[in-house]
Point group: C2
């Protein structure tokens, strides 16, 4: 045989072409079926290909092209492949077969019911962060861990692995406090209130938040209506050093890059996984340097957690995983029977936040009270106030304007405060009959807000006028849909008209 | 608000462009991020989009394009999207949001540990066959059913569902016999021998086989070296009516289209699923009209089934599922400790088959004996011979040339017999020391054959010279690698040189 090797540069080389195709986190390359390398290497559609350029290596999924999209000596790169290789026009890349990933055998073992060790979990999460898993592999890992298939030890291992592969902030003070509200409750936007209250009292709270995964708005989406949130770690540190706190998007900070990738695949699967949820939440807290975290667990028939028993089990596991990774975790069950505040959607929720901070007369009191209770709990947990007196301090900081003043300082430090946009198209949904509001379906309300365009269209969503218990007359407004385009408004209304009422009225009460 | 509806044709229309990108079974569409529909509908990367053209509807995954690949009013279609829509240049398609698939809630229920009912399984399999599942969804379904997570009732439900969504053959005679060898044993190519033997005795055997999934050759790949195998149902029926049997690729016959789609995703996952394996095998038998099936279960430390206990459990489940769906199933455990015959790879295995049929002096006797035993069992199961005398009839049909004559007739009916190709590049692996062959690793041997190019390069693979127990001298050839290109040969050799010996020699025995 001759001396040809698998990495023979003279043969296995193609010129890059940026195709401008956004394949998210999964690097994809495009090659002609009749290109010499496809033929000599036996590559076929969905092959995993090792692509090398100036010492950078990525594993990409191959899409075969049969038309004239590419020349015979060209390879098309998706946006993420282009970025990871730091490619430039006319660059030549070298191609070879990707070795099977060792860590996939651990995923398979988990699928077959075995427990994952810390080293196994670490190898999986490292490969995910290195973008070596295809969507198919990510989906299998998520499914294998879904429901309650990760025990506390495995969840702690996953959390540690997620921390290990990301950036890590450390601070020269203590305690570093934090909070997290478990999702599923529309409008539950306490973070932009809790941070300025807590920071105004002199505590440090470097808060990272997520964008919406399956909800009409994440805290980062809402906060973005008021100030820039896509800050990297360096910028975030500057803000915290100047003001004592921040409210930024965690994805830009790269505190848990593996989790950011997993979330992209969890979304279309819509699977709940207790272990992954705990790891996702707590890994970001530890990576942000937090020492004390209060978890807000809303409980209600259409919230993410539906019973106090389930909330208790989840809360207990969170505290245990916290202990295993050296994080103080305190869990609070809260009312999850209806949305918090009035707005659902980034801009509409931001307006509620502003109303509370500015002490406007019609500010939503339920949102304000939740923020007060959570901030109070943080004060007590961190030893800043005696037990039982945290909420009073929080209330005082809101009432005298110090929280509002601090919020403006944080927004300025993040790049400048701004006003939320207003939607161009609205439609009022009214009561079909007189009576009392007896239930509100959080999930379907959230879905209507999403169909109206939230969170991609930031002004979209809805505004709820009648909380639980409100007495209404026939034709009285229940909620108002907001959309940026007529098409999106039409989608939301088509959905609402095809459903039983989301805000349920009991007659004669 | 205006009268715009979600299906407003004036607005939600784009002109198709065939991009020539092969995305396998998953329809993908490409749209510019700044195209009016993306913006008005809030579509983003990975959105599931309903695409309609002249009454045909598909659900496609959206890839966002940022460059100049497409015009603003164009939508790019992947090959499978183009084909499913039966699109032509300049056609306009209508776009809207795809409703969430109802059947995915059953997949989620299975992930959380619930059992799948027959209607739930049917809805899932129907949506898969209709290509409504993305790769991410398919991966979740496969993972949720992996290992032993499907019980016999669910496996029977999956089998029935797979049968229901595919083509179905019926014959005006009975019995219709069939066989299946469970994979994992290189070179176990008994089908092209069993079919002509059984058919030469007057039985009917319309055999459909698969291409390689994770092995260096499937029976269809091997048979394709000798005759065309990509016959549709009509052509297959013609062959069987003329000759009494056939050996064709099942994929072209569309007997179990959902299974064909699942297999494409199972391959990169490399997950074993007993339930899916049974459903995959038995659904195709029933769809082909079979009434009596012999299952060959090779057992060995590096075969797919590793212990007689595991084989017994699997065999019992196969018989039970057979009973549930009205199919006679008989299971035989066979020796899986080493490859069968000499060749591994499509052309090399085809040579072994020809040698046995032509009664050549050096024909591999182990392959011949296996075919004889399996054919004998079919004779007995179908009541064609008394118990204990099936093998003798099979042997007689091989010895007097009737099987060879029948094989030629089948090949002619399938489109004409041909000779297998010969690889241009070979390399002999020799014994590092004298001794006796004490073990052969089927899995790594298969992997070496695949790295050499099998099955995409049909002449590639390897030829084993020294079965278990052979006494060898130092430097005596153990096996010969075959490849069509120097690059593929280099891959295989790089792998072999980095491994402990695949053919293990014990010294001094």
């Amino acid at each position: 045989m001759n001396n040809h090797t698998p990495h023979d540069h003279a043969v296995n080389v193609l010129q890059v072409r940026r195709l401008g195709i956004d394949t998210y986190h999964e690097p994809v390359v495009f090659m002609r079926s009749d290109c010499p390398i496809c033929r000599s290497e036996g590559f076929e559609a969905h092959s995993r290909v090792l692509v090398s350029l100036r010492g950078k290596n990525i594993i990409a999924t191959l899409n075969i092209v049969t038309g004239d999209l590419l020349q015979n000596d060209e390879i098309g790169l998706s946006e993420i492949a282009w970025k990871l290789l730091a490619a430039a026009p006319d660059d030549d890349v070298t191609l070879s077969h990707a070795e099977p990933l060792e860590s996939l055998s651990s995923v398979r073992a988990k699928v077959y019911g075995q427990r994952l060790s810390q080293p196994a979990m670490h190898a999986i999460v490292q490969d995910i962060a290195d973008r070596k898993y295809s969507d198919i592999h990510l989906s299998a890992f998520i499914t294998a861990c879904a429901g309650d298939r990760l025990d506390v030890t495995e969840t702690a291992a996953l959390t540690r692995a997620m921390i290990a592969v990301g950036e890590h902030l450390s601070w020269d003070r203590s305690p570093i406090v934090d909070k997290h509200s478990v999702g599923g409750l529309p409008g539950n936007r306490t973070t932009p209130l809790v941070v300025p209250i807590v920071v105004a009292a002199g505590l440090t709270m470097p808060k990272t938040s997520s964008r919406a995964i399956t909800s009409p708005a994440g805290t980062a989406d809402t906060m973005e209506m008021l100030a820039p949130v896509a800050l990297d770690v360096k910028a975030m540190r500057r803000v915290v050093e100047r003001t004592g706190g921040c409210i930024v998007w965690g994805g830009a900070a790269q505190l848990s890059p593996a989790d950011d990738i997993l979330i992209r695949v969890e979304r279309p699967l819509d699977l709940d996984s207790e272990g992954q949820m705990i790891a996702s939440i707590l890994s970001k807290k530890v990576a942000a340097g937090s020492t004390h975290v209060v978890i807000d667990l809303p409980v209600g028939p259409t919230a993410k957690v539906r019973s106090t028993a389930a909330a208790h089990a989840l809360g207990t596991d969170m505290v245990k995983v916290g202990q295993a990774i050296g994080l103080h975790v305190d869990v609070m069950q809260t009312d999850g029977s209806q949305p918090v505040g009035r707005g659902v959607g980034p801009a509409l929720e931001a307006r509620d936040v502003l109303a509370v901070l500015r002490r406007e007369a019609d500010a939503p009191q339920d949102l304000r009270e939740r923020a007060v209770v959570l901030a109070g709990r943080i004060f007590e947990m961190a030893g800043h106030t005696p037990p039982g007196s945290g909420a009073a301090l929080a209330r005082a900081l809101l009432d005298d304007g110090r929280a509002w003043h601090k919020f403006q300082a944080i927004c300025d430090a993040q790049g400048g405060m701004r006003e939320p946009p207003q939607a161009a198209h609205t439609h009022v949904m009214t009561a079909p009959s007189a009576g009392r509001v007896v239930s509100i379906d959080n999930r379907r309300l959230g879905r209507a807000a999403k169909l109206a365009g939230a969170p991609q269209s930031p002004a979209a969503g809805l505004s709820l006028h009648t909380p639980l218990g409100t007495r209404v007359e026939r034709d009285q407004p229940l909620f108002t849909m907001h959309a940026e385009t007529p098409g999106e408004l039409a989608y939301a209304l088509a959905y609402l008209h095809g459903q039983p009422p989301i805000v349920e009225i009991a007659n004669g009460q």
